[in-house]
Amino acid sequence: MENIAEIKQPGIAQGQQPASEGQLLPVQLNINGKNYLLHLEPWTSLLDALREYLDLTGTKKGCDHGQCGACTILADGKRINSCLTLAVMYDGIPLTTIEGVAEGDTLHPLQQAFIDHDAFQCGYCTPGQICSAIGMMKEGRAQSSNDIHELMSGNLCRCGAYSNIHDAIEQVMEENINPEKK
């Protein structure tokens, strides 16, 4: 376990008392291939652990309610809403966030397709959309354009960039079936 970055909660690192008598639990999160050891209050959501304690702010907090999909990440390769779960429950489970989808300077094909198709306006839902689309492609259940609409319905875009989001995803799926189209 050479690769562990130990991170404490800011308040506690400064020698202060935790906000309550609640227990601090050691949690080892494996994110984008890197291990982090944190000491967290059990009520810390996985989303808050990423954003507040690990500075992985690519994953967004939209509704904090499981309704908008902005917080979508991949846990063990499966897309989940990181706002509706506790960080302590993900000890040791490999997680992928938007920060981990590119390979070095090479964008993930979906990231590139989102740029090519102008698939966002404000961009707030984009990390969730891309992680969700990666999850959907891995699931392999989308067989048609309509399926993409249905299986991406857990990700809202208040700017209404849906048609371009859809086209970006469809293009990458087509390229994967038929690489000549690229």
Partner: protein
């Protein structure tokens, strides 16, 4: 969210014996509803027991020719399971009609049964609600009650059960296996959820400290003639205004057996055995479906904003039964996997 302590448990025995009845301890698995309710200060457990590591994930055939769905199997894994798709497509369709792919990847089968109503007054701690605090009164009865129940309501509560999966499980006569300190028991699906009566805060007959271990489907899957119709305000990712799980066994033109369960209309998935018995031996035609629909909605009571549900339910029943009758057994799901050249 309130403060709580947390432990992870690895065996069923340990989980059950860690629970002290009525002390505010809750089990957590998928957490998609519980965390949301905790954030809204509606659920305030002192202690959470994480049961996600218990050995309750399997989906396996039973000796009786049915299928046992592990309580911790995810909704998505259940809906896409080969045997569920092949033998219980009604269940697969109902599960996939609910929530979003992300939520279905998190939510477990046991948790689906235990999710709580989405009545907005239940969620709004500024308004009285008998389900939240018994005796406070019901804000929905004289409030904005468009999404509320029309069958089996009481003066205390007109909330609906939000699950799609449970509507199919009711139609399929599933049973729920539970385990507590006093041992194991089996609950018929229709007895699992309850009507509000004067104790709207109690959703089910599961006792404090008991844990659902599995849900069992009988051999009969109605895989040839089934339909799940879900009517909602938008086409995807919304709760049902009315939903119908319909299943038929046909003998030529006539009905050998019919099953009808409704969602979005009551405090529990609504079965009407009388209407099902009426259909038995009758010709499978809309005229008879309409009569069955009339029977099911005979006692329905609408409120100011949800009167439309009575007619909507009747039409949804006729449509579900007609489409179930006409179903051409679909080709097995042909899912091509997109070759991912870019590995995560």
């Amino acid at each position: 969210m309130n403060r709580f302590s947390y432990t992870k448990t690895h065996t069923l025995e340990e989980a059950i014996h860690e629970v002290i009845p009525n002390d505010g301890t809750k089990f957590i698995a998928g957490g998609t509803n519980l965390i949301d309710l905790m954030r809204a200060n509606i659920e305030r457990p002192d202690h959470l027991i994480d049961i996600t590591h218990l050995d309750l994930h399997q989906i396996e055939e039973t000796e009786q020719g049915g299928l046992r769905l592990g309580a911790l199997a995810k909704n998505s894994d259940t809906a896409y399971h080969e045997l569920v798709q092949k033998r219980y497509p009604l269940l697969a369709k109902a599960i996939l009609a609910g929530a979003s792919p992300q939520l279905r990847n998190m939510a477990t089968n046991g948790g689906n049964l235990l999710q709580r109503t989405r009545c907005y007054y239940f969620y709004d701690t500024a308004t009285p609600c008998n389900k939240r605090i018994p005796g406070q009164g019901c804000s929905a009865i004289h409030g904005y009650n468009r999404i509320h129940a029309i069958l089996g309501t009481s003066d205390y509560c007109i909330a609906t059960h939000p699950s799609d999966m449970c509507v199919a499980l009711a139609a399929l006569d599933a049973i729920v296996n539970v385990k507590g300190r006093e041992g194991e028991r089996t609950i018929a699906f229709n007895d699992f959820h309850r009507l509000p009566d004067d104790a709207a805060h109690i959703d089910s007959t599961l006792r404090q400290g008991e844990l659902i271990t599995s849900i069992e489907l009988p051999a009969k899957g109605f895989e040839k003639h089934y339909q799940y119709v879900k009517v909602r305000d938008r086409r995807s990712y919304a709760f049902a205004l009315v939903s119908v799980a319909a299943a038929l066994n046909l003998d030529g033109d006539s009905i050998a057996e019919a099953r009808i369960a409704l969602g979005g209309v009551a405090h529990k998935p609504w079965r009407d055995v009388e209407a099902e018995t009426f259909l038995q031996g009758k010709v499978a035609e809309p005229e008879n479906f309409e009569k069955a629909a009339e029977m099911i909605l005979k006692e329905a009571k609408g409120y100011k904003y949800n009167m439309f549900k009575i007619e909507l339910a009747k039409r949804a029943i006729v449509r579900a039964l007609t489409e179930a009758r006409d179903l051409q057994t679909p080709e097995p799901l042909n899912c091509y996997t997109y070759n991912r050249h870019h590995q995560l």
